[in-house]
Amino acid sequence: MRKGFIAYIPAGFPDLETTEKILLSLNGLGITGVEIGVPFSDPVADGPVIQIAHKVALENGVNLDKILEMVSKLKVDYDLYLMSYLNPILNYPAGKEILIRRLREIGIKGLIVPDLPLREVENVEIDFPLVPFVAPNTRESDLERIRRVSAPFVYYISRYGVTGEKEDLPFVDHMKMVKERLRLPLFVGFGISKREQVEKVWEVADGVIVGSLLVRIISETSRKEVAAKVKEKVKELIGDHS
């Protein structure tokens, strides 16, 4: 059985040109989408691997405009989401309304904001589909809140911790419960790096989100080979043996 797969690719790591090549290489695999990571100076929900990607991208002078410029020309057969911490969105130089208009024009399907919890959503007024997070400790009342929002999917944080490769998959039962409660597609991220984890998640939820593993491969591979390597790893994770 084949279900959903979303890759997290940090924009501008090691440079924007390489990011574009990686994104193009993921065409034709039938994946659900890619979260494009906007670099931030203080990525508090991320582990060391993704922190370095943010740092390098910022040192390269990558900013939201350069990322959107690259993405706007991109032809891909999967959905694109933007993952950004809150401050770069709300302090976008031309104003958040202009940014949101731009995101719509480009066809971005949703925003993933790791430091914007459900309870603060109404206080920041972002008129764009926001992907809600659910964690193993999320309260019942917040699940109710999610039932009322419209979003492309729900991001399930699979463990207590920051992003990074792990082997296990705790909280499968909770995942199952959440899946039954919500009508939206449930995608599971944080620590997913093995084919076996992907298979287990696919049994109870709609898809996986893989980040740190791919970012590590990007950091360890030469620019020339990186797109092919990332594609190869994604194929392995989704069990595509073609």
């Binding site: 809150l86 770069p88 193993p136 917040d142």
Partner: protein
């Protein structure tokens, strides 16, 4: 709105932290009404930390400035700064919540030492995150924390200072939620921290008010405190808000506000989101948080407590900045005129005395938030000081 000071504050943290913040809020609400908790807190501050601290009339300094200058001597507290007030309060709260492991961030090392001290007092495991840059310039405090049994974890990400130490402490907390209490050291971070820390520090202002009324029979004209994250200032000001006293918060002007190398978030920052709070943040045009500069590690922070943002906006407190050099001059001045070596942080508040134009005959209270032993190495290596000591 709950969790906000006017439009500032809130809980802008990863979803996974929300239940922990709710648990903390609930626990704090419970102890707020529990007289036994506050009795224990006050008793420890008296018997163990050395409260009340004196409100000292600085005679020679007063003569020099033609005013009546009083120093609130938080520098005389155990561990050498006001930070112990909050550390003891929060460790007591951690015990109430059944947590046996506490973590903390530290800039100058004073909050780290205070937390390590309170943890040792109750036999708790303690881990302190500290920027590598700060570890270098505050070496004695690193050794102190280790002696007290705490583990000091160097933080090498970002600017390697307080802001990055807070990031790392938050990451630890996210990973170890069920066992761990995060002892935040300033009036920053997500709700309820800015309120909790201010409440554990407001004893500074309450004592000061009582003491000045006893000595002078009236409230002072000015109360001055330095502002990094802003805990000593919040603790000092809270009681005096709307009382007619002119309250002045002094930020770190670094090499001068015009150079961009400073840590004056309220004066030169823009409203943004950092460490769970909507507040003033020093940032670039793309919303990236800027690195800061100050001779004082404890003020070297890109954000500021949300309640200060509110006090600034409403005009309840006036904020200004002094440079590294002005602070160093004040550091030497207090040492020579009063025989008190102040922390570089507190020296920023003292330096503001020279900036008040109508000082003549006024009563001024300066919060001497900490003592300067920890700063000797960095002060003595500064050319401005070297040339003036024999």
């Amino acid at each position: 709105m709950k969790g906000y000071f006017g439009p500032y504050g809130g809980q802008y943290v990863p979803e996974i932290l929300m239940p922990a913040l709710e648990e903390l809020e609930k626990a704090y609400e419970e102890v707020s009404r529990d007289e036994a908790f506050w009795a224990e807190y006050r008793k420890l501050l008296e018997d163990y930390a050395g409260r009340p601290t004196p409100l000292y009339f600085a005679k020679r300094l007063s003569e020099k400035y033609g005013a009546k200058i009083y120093l609130k001597r938080e520098d005389l507290l155990h561990t050498g700064a006001h930070k112990i007030n909050n550390a003891i309060g929060q460790v007591l709260l951690a015990l109430r919540m059944g947590k046996r492991r506490v973590i903390a961030e530290t800039g100058a090392g004073q909050h780290g030492v205070a937390t390590a001290t309170a943890a040792a007092l109750f036999g708790l495991e303690c881990v302190v995150y500290m920027g590598e840059e700060d570890m270098n310039r505050q070496r004695p405090n690193v050794e102190r924390m280790r002696l007290l049994g705490a583990k000091v974890v160097p933080v090498s990400s970002g600017s390697k200072t307080l802001k990055d130490a807070i990031n790392e402490a938050l990451r630890d907390w996210i990973t170890n939620l069920p066992t761990t209490y995060y002892v935040l050291g300033s009036v920053v971070g997500p709700h309820p921290y800015p309120t909790i820390v201010r409440d554990f520090q407001k004893i500074i202002g309450e004592e000061t008010k009582h003491q000045i009324l006893e000595k002078e029979g009236r409230l002072p004209d000015y109360v001055i405190a330095c502002v990094g994250g802003g805990s000593n200032a919040a603790g000092m000001f809270y009681t005096f808000i709307d009382s007619g006293v002119k309250l002045v918060g002094v930020e770190a002007g670094g090499k001068g506000l015009e150079t961009g190398e400073h840590a004056a978030s309220l004066l030169r920052g823009k409203v943004g989101y950092l460490h769970g709070s909507k507040t003033y943040v020093l940032q670039d045009e793309w919303g990236q948080v800027r690195t800061t500069h100050s001779v004082s590690a404890g003020l070297d922070y890109s954000g500021v407590g949300p309640e200060h943002a509110y006090w600034k906006e409403t005009g309840k407190v006036f904020y200004d900045a002094v440079t590294d050099e002005e602070a160093l001059d004040a550091f030497l001045e207090l040492s020579r005129y009063e025989g008190i070596i102040p922390a570089l942080e507190s020296a920023h508040a003292l330096a503001y005395l020279r900036k008040i134009e109508d000082l003549d005959g006024k009563i001024v209270v300066v919060n001497l938030s900490g003592r300067g032993d920890k700063d000797l190495a960095s002060v003595l290596s500064h050319p401005r000081v070297r040339e003036r000591i024999s």
